[in-house]
């Protein structure tokens, strides 16, 4: 499992008060369960978080009592429980995602392609909502997937609509070539971001995954900065140049509607 996880847990030196450390650990346990594929045992969690099994046992007990984790009766391993699910549903409502969902569904229906809503998480984009194309050949990317910023249509939006795109590009450091068309020169990327900002949408032409195209638009906050990006994604042959303008204007209209659904002052 993951190495270097220990810095996910603040050391006691910067854990301000004894009590907070337990919260941080409990949330770290939840994160382990969130990122795991199936049910997880106490020992695995303890190993991943570098905690004593007895400590993890105690935390998991408290989480189970609160309904945040549930135990598999057969294997005695753990997974997320109903309260975790309900908390997410509540967040969906308050963040305006519940309102955004039908808008994404509509965009997917009109375009016939997969649609994504992506927010920034550190130096990556994070897929938070997803509507899949009904076509047999479609681009699939689960909710929770993390995508690089410099070679995706959503990432370019999240870089372009910031206070200082140039500083953003510098921060990214080396731009690794993932395909033959990936932009690897920071200067060229910055030029592209300027264009994205001017035209209001971004395009990814097989820059991350060969054969996959994306067209994205910005969900803007009150300051004109991107709080999220909406993308239409599909196989390159279904997204020829002459279709880009149409897809872009559809994505932009949806992004605008989503912006209206997110409460003022919220940051996604």
């Amino acid at each position: 499992m993951a190495t270097g996880r220990e810095h996910a847990l603040p050391s006691p030196a910067n854990g301000q008060v004894a009590g907070t450390q337990t919260i941080v650990r409990a949330l770290a346990v939840l994160r382990e369960l969130r990122d795991a594929d199936g049910d997880v045992g106490i020992t695995e969690i303890a190993r991943a978080l570098e905690l004593h099994t007895s400590t993890v046992h105690r935390i998991v007990k408290a989480l189970a009592a609160a309904g945040y984790v549930a135990q598999n009766d057969r294997t005695e391993r753990y997974r997320l429980g109903r309260e975790a699910f309900l908390l997410g549903r509540a967040a969906e409502r308050t963040l305006g995602f519940e309102a955004a969902k039908p808008l994404l569904e509509r965009l997917a229906e009109i375009t016939g392609e997969s649609v994504n809503l992506v927010v920034r998480d550190g130096d990556e984009g994070l897929v938070v909502l997803r509507e899949e194309s009904q076509q047999p050949l479609r681009f699939t990317q689960p909710v929770g997937a993390r995508v690089p910023l410099y070679c995706t249509s959503t990432g370019k939006i999240l870089l372009a609509f910031t206070e200082d795109p140039s500083a953003e590009v510098t921060r990214l450091g080396e731009l690794k070539a993932l395909t033959a068309t990936t932009i690897t020169s920071p200067r060229e990327l910055l030029r592209e971001l300027e264009q994205v900002k001017r035209q209001g949408f971004s395009v990814n032409k097989s820059e991350r995954v060969p054969g996959v195209c994306g067209v994205a638009a910005a969900v803007l906050d009150a300051d004109g900065l991107a709080s999220a990006a909406v993308a239409v994604q599909g196989p390159e042959f279904r997204m020829p140049d002459e279709r880009i303008a149409e897809l872009a204007s559809l994505a932009m209209a949806t992004a605008e509607d989503i912006a209206a659904a997110i409460p003022h002052g919220y940051h996604l």
Binding site: G19, L63, R79, A91
Partner: protein, 262 residues
């Protein structure tokens, strides 16, 4: 190597419980809350509340509204919920709920047992203009709902816990079972036919039909219900929907991973 330090056992568990109480408040509130309001609501002191909120913000479970400096549920909470959704097997279950909603034209609920009550976890709403709305997170009493009644009828432990030594039941509408004896008779019938009804027992004007989702031992852990305005649910429709809901519930039971019981 990270140093191991001894947790204050009691202090720790209490803090975790408090952190979840804070999250729960945000969950039920549905809007922005200031630290002062949280402290007051939960009877905690301000500095403790501040500390808990800060820890939750650090992990993305809460975020601060730049406009008013109050807090709201953040994307960390959202992602946890989405992971729970697939963890739970709900992404497999969802199409079955959709099919039931489509074929009946009515709202469909999936509820799970949570101690003494049932909680709605997933919901597909009828598209008809007159429909019954019950968002996920809604808590329903066991004795006065169709979901609750299958959880009682097909889970002996729950029935014992809920009804042992009880005579009178909370009356929610004039049609709620008023006594344990009358509820028991209803549960016996529910067991015999495999599905339950709610005849305006929790909301006037709303009738429901539910069936149990059972684990491999045949014990009910969850339930699905079709809910409709009474005007669209005459007695004859109970008999028509009952077997249909029971079939869908059986299908869902088989879709859930072994050992999973919500």
């Amino acid at each position: 190597m990270s140093p191991k330090i001894e947790d204050g056992r009691v202090v720790g568990a209490q803090t975790v419980a408090r952190a979840f109480a804070v999250l729960r408040l945000f969950r039920d509130q549905g809007g922005d809350l200031g630290v002062g309001a949280v402290a007051k609501e939960l009877g905690l002191n301000l500095s403790t509340t501040h500390r808990i909120v800060r820890a939750l913000v650090a992990e993305g479970f809460l975020a601060q509204n730049e406009d008013n400096e109050r807090y709201y549920l953040g994307t960390g909470a959202l992602l946890l919920g989405q992971a729970a959704h697939s963890n739970f097997g709900l992404d497999v279950v969802y199409p079955a709920l959709q099919a039931l909603a489509a074929s009946t034209g009515e709202s469909v609920n999936l509820g799970v047992l949570a101690g003494e009550i049932a909680v709605v976890v997933e919901r597909i709403e009828s598209v008809q203009p007159l429909r019954f709305t019950q968002p996920p997170g809604t808590r329903v009493p066991l004795h006065a709902s169709s979901m609750g009644k299958v959880l009682l009828a097909f889970n002996a432990d729950v029935e014992r816990r809920t009804l042992k030594g009880v005579n009178r039941l909370d009356r929610i509408t004039p049609k709620t079972h008023a006594t344990a004896a009358s509820l028991r008779a209803d549960l016996a019938m529910t067991r015999a036919r495999g599905w339950s009804t709610d005849d305006e027992e929790s909301s006037l004007g709303v009738r429901c039909v539910a069936a149990p989702i059972c684990d491999s031992a045949g014990v009910a852990r969850a339930a699905i219900a079709v809910q409709a305005p009474a005007v669209r649910m005459p007695d004859a429709r109970f008999d028509e929907l009952g077997p249909q809901v029971a079939t869908a519930a059986k299908e869902i039971s088989t879709l859930l991973p072994p050992g999973h019981s919500f």
